[in-house]
């Protein structure tokens, strides 16, 4: 672990990086919960009155939509994390 820099500016930078990371993390987890728990479970019966491509919407979220959303979320997260890594200069070579 010789690579750990203990000076104050490096520590500040690490804290700022972690703060940005956690902010993104909460956004991703919020969206994750919205497409699955909220649209697919809590509000599923209300959404079932709306139709999307022949599907009742709540049922669609539970059996199709949430899965598509998860895929998009992970790639979006990976891209945003890449930007945060570079912003704080902690990215891999």
């Amino acid at each position: 672990m010789s690579s750990i820099k203990k000076d104050a500016t490096a520590q500040q930078n690490a804290d700022a990086y972690w703060k940005d990371t956690l902010k993104l993390l909460w956004i991703v987890l919020a969206l994750w919960a919205v497409v699955s728990y909220f649209a697919g479970i809590f509000f599923a019966s209300a959404l079932n009155n709306i139709y999307l491509a022949g599907y009742p919407l709540g049922f669609w979220f539970a059996q199709q939509g949430s899965i598509y959303a998860f895929v998009v979320l992970i790639f979006w997260y990976a891209k945003q994390m890449g930007k945060i890594d570079e912003k704080h200069d902690v990215h891999e070579d």
Binding site: M1, S3, I4, A14, Y17, W18, T21, L25, V28, L29, W32, S36, Y37, G40, I41, F42, A44, S45, N48, L52, A53, G54, Y55, P56, F59, W60, A62, Q63, Q64, S66, I67, Y68, F70, V71, L73, I74, F75, Y77, A78, M81, G82, D85, V90, H91, E92
Partner: protein, 595 residues
């Protein structure tokens, strides 16, 4: 030998030859090859291998059947087993990759600076992995016995021999590339029949849009299916009949359980960089989503087709409860007779009229029951095991024989790829964590590799035995594995990354609380090894949460106990807090395991 059986032998034989060829080409030379495939696997390749590793006999064989029987309530499996990848990508995989070691117990042991924590993690891992692998071996046995008409035992021995060959020889490197081949086989085997069936019913090429589309007569498929099942006294297909809290608990337990399964986590140790671990989780989910978004269509359409087989009024839009609608037993198709032989499909002429009456004789709708009684029905006469829906699907839809043969090869691929991944984490836990880590730290790399191979040989034999004498039904055993992963490993790893102050006492107390609580709750209602101590009904459950969902409560208990204990015991030492800070930043991942 008939045409179908011959074709099945060819399909299964060719796929086996492919796996063996790949395994020889990619065999392991060093411990790094053996545990993490040399650490240089491309993220897309790793994603595909992860998908095969993850999608087991339960996903391939059982899931669509569960959805078919449960309708909307089957969504817990769809959301639960895919949503876990979001947790993996944002909470665990990149940080564990940065840590850069070979196994999950190794992370827990180093992070919590304690051999005891490492051993507790090994115990959790072995329990989770063995329960899971027993289900896979059982799946191999079922496919062999039905399609190749050999004894389940013979099927098991062939499966064990094959897994032994490439897991023991090839280690993680062999497994990775065989899993890629197995993914290709299983995804074709799953989607081709689904495409055929979707085309037959709705004219849509994609099952994903076919499920929402209209039947040939212009009626929306899902609306027609709802009418069919409710007219026969079953629950509405597209709405829920479970309590909401239980659905939430099961979904969360499956999500966190997925993220906490050791054989899935270690796949992310094989990619070169931290950023690859993030994108690789996305690729894994892309490959998984192809099957998981097809499964709802397979389930719903199989339900419709099976009912339509025995009730001729389904396709004609006439009242379903009518004697002239019911199929004459002597006219029943060949596939029904074939499955009757396995005991997984049963027809019983309760009222002795030679017709097959299929309806819900325990319906909550008194009108259905009264009408059935007036017609002289004496109870439901057809029972179809949920586990045969996917396997029987191409036969039900009268697809060509080569499609049926392909499904058999796909089912075996799904079971073998998962079994191999599980056996590898078991062997790594024994040779790397127990032997090298605790018992004999000075062992040479060559001896460690030998010990790893010996451990996986023993693990194969135990898995085979468990597959032959399963400690309960496959679905029950799988609920066990997820509940335990959710309640023990997932929270402990999570706290290890996100709470710098979490110490060894807190982690061990939390892990044991989660593990023991979940273990006892499932045992209390399901028995498995003992006689259940209470009837497994909602009225008896804690907060109305079923044994399948109790891992969620176990995870919360784990976190609460860990936080409380860590506040009243000696603080986490400085060098560990620095280690955690180091794990959190990506730079330097390549050299991390040199220290």
């Amino acid at each position: 030998m008939d045409d179908l059986k011959l074709m099945t032998y060819i399909a299964v034989g060719l796929s086996f030859a492919l796996y063996i060829g790949v395994a020889i080409w990619a065999r392991a030379g060093s411990t790094k090859d053996y545990y993490v495939a040399g650490g240089g696997v491309h993220p897309v390749v790793n994603g595909m291998a992860t998908a095969a590793d993850w999608m087991s006999a339960a996903s391939f064989i059982s899931m669509a059947g569960l959805i078919s029987a449960m309708g909307y309530d089957g969504s817990v499996y769809l959301m639960g087993w895919t949503g876990g990848y979001v947790l993996l990508a944002v909470l665990l995989a990149p940080y564990l990759r940065k840590f850069g070691k070979f196994t999950v117990p190794e992370f827990i042991g180093d992070r919590y600076y304690s051999q005891t924590a490492r051993i507790v993690a090994v115990v959790c891992l072995i329990f989770i992995s063995f329960t899971y692998v027993a289900g896979q071996m059982r799946g191999v046995g079922i496919v062999f016995s039905r399609f190749l008409e050999v004894e389940i035992t013979t099927g098991l021995i062939i499966g064990m021999g094959l897994v032994f060959f490439y897991a023991v020889l090839g280690g993680m490197k062999g497994i990775t590339y065989t899993q890629v081949a197995q993914y290709v086989v299983l995804i074709f085997a799953y989607t081709i029949p689904a495409i055929f069936i979707s085309l037959q019913l709705t004219g849509h090429l994609l099952p994903q849009t076919g499920l929402g589309a209209d039947l040939a007569n212009g009626q929306p498929f899902l609306a027609r299916l709802n009418t069919v099942v409710t007219d026969l006294g079953f629950a509405n297909y597209t709405t829920s009949s479970k309590s909401m809290i239980d659905i939430v608990a099961i979904t969360f337990a499956l999500m966190a359980g997925t993220a906490g399964l050791p054989h899935v986590i270690v796949r992310f140790f094989t990619v070169p960089k931290v950023r690859d671990a993030r994108s690789s989780a996305g690729w894994a989910l892309v490959f998984i989503a192809i099957l998981y978004t097809t499964a709802p269509a397979v389930g719903a359409m199989a339900r419709y087709n099976v009912i339509a087989t025995v009730n001729t009024h389904v396709a004609q839009d006439k009242p379903l409860l009518a004697q002239e609608a019911n199929l004459k037993a002597e006219d029943r198709p060949e596939w029904m007779k074939r499955w009757e032989k396995t005991g997984l499909l049963k027809w019983d002429d309760k009222n002795g009229d030679g017709l097959i009456q299929h309806y819900n004789d325990k319906s909550k709708n008194p009108e259905v029951l009264a009408k059935a009684e007036a017609l002289g029905y004496k109870g439901n006469e057809l029972t179809v095991d949920r586990d045969i829906m996917v396997l029987a699907n191409p036969e039900v839809a009268q697809l060509p024989n080569w499609v049926i043969a392909l499904v058999a090869a796909g089912g075996i691929a799904a079971a073998l790829s998962t079994a191999a991944g599980l056996l590898l984490v078991i062997s790594a836990a024994i040779s790397h964590d127990l032997l090298k880590g605790v018992i004999a730290p000075n062992i040479s790399e060559k001896s460690e590799l030998m010990a790893g191979r010996a451990a996986s040989a023993v693990a194969v034999l135990v898995a085979g035995y468990l597959g032959y004498n399963p400690p309960g039904f496959v679905a029950e055993v799988v609920a066990f594995a997820f509940g335990l992963a959710c309640a023990s490993l997932f929270p402990t790893i999570l706290l290890g990354i996100f709470s710098k102050k979490m110490n060894t006492q807190g982690a061990i107390a939390g892990m044991l609380t989660g593990l023991i609580f979940t273990f006892c709750y499932i045992l209390y209602f399901k028995g498995i090894f003992i006689t259940p101590m209470a009837e497994n009904i909602p009225a008896n459950w804690l907060f109305g949460i079923s044994p399948e969902g109790i891992g969620s409560v176990g995870a919360i208990l784990n976190v609460v106990v860990a936080l409380i204990v860590s506040r009243v015991t000696p603080a986490c030492p400085d060098h560990i807090q620095h280690l955690v800070e180091d794990i959190r930043t990506p730079r330097g991942a390549g050299t991390a395991h040199a220290h």
